[in-house]
Amino acid sequence: MSLSPEKWIENYSDEMYRYALSKSGDHDLSEDLIQETFLGALASMENFKGDSSEKTWLYSILKFKIADYYRKASTKNELSNTLSNNDYSDYFFDEHGEWQEQTSPNEWSINASEALENQELGLILTNCIDKLPNTQRQLINLKLIEEEETENVCKQMQLSSNNFWTSIHRAKLVLRDCVEKNWILA
């Protein structure tokens, strides 16, 4: 296998852009990632061993760029903008780590299959996720990557880092609470 960079844009750019978009839910970020991916690939062409296809190789670089972005983002201060670590746990949990009454998860009068089909719930969720800071929204989206890839990406990103998980946790707590507060059925 050899590389033909002059055909990269024509052959892969739209497809890879959509892939990045599905992982990040963010157009500007996806454009940046695609640029970085192709330029990075260009700079490291001599590392291409030819044991995988050109496409697979380019995707592996893109996945690395995505993972790298999230790893950096999860340690950035931006994540603590809305509520600092202590504030967020105080808002949702008391000093024993038990739910605060006003933000605790109440039962929603709906079952699993209804939840997925319920349009109102879908709309509320969209509104709530729009209110989240960019990085939190992207972190949430990251969690939605296809099952078989998750472990891989997690390894690349060293997702075991507590920081990452508390960021995800915080974003989900805020999101869930927002849905419940805005939903009549809940």
């Binding site: 852009y17 998860p105 969209t126 508390t166 989900k172």
Partner: protein, 93 residues
């Protein structure tokens, strides 16, 4: 009081909900799974959280997928040109 004792043996709700998020993405250890099972058996709030957290993920995933299908997004021509000129520059060298 009862809840405090429970947390001593099992998990606090804070830790349980954090584990729920982790468990949605990565396999948990055997001990973690048992701890979480025990906790959600006795704690309605965390049981609700576990269900709802999963639903939220599923709905968002569905929305993302629909989005992708509805709009055949393409990379802007501007960016394509920019990358292509970089590629040309490099290949000429």
């Amino acid at each position: 009081m009862m809840k405090t004792i429970t947390h001593f043996f099992v998990l606090s709700c804070y830790k349980a909900s954090l584990l729920i998020e982790k468990g949605n993405v990565l396999p948990l250890s055997f001990t973690q799974r048992i701890q979480l099972k025990l906790h959600t058996k006795i704690c309605d709030k965390c049981n609700n959280y576990q269900k709802q957290s999963k639903w939220i993920d599923l709905i968002l995933k569905k929305q993302l997928d629909l989005d992708q299908k509805k709009l055949k997004y393409t990379l802007s021509d501007e960016i394509k040109c920019k990358i292509n000129s970089e590629i040309e520059k490099k290949l000429k060298k």
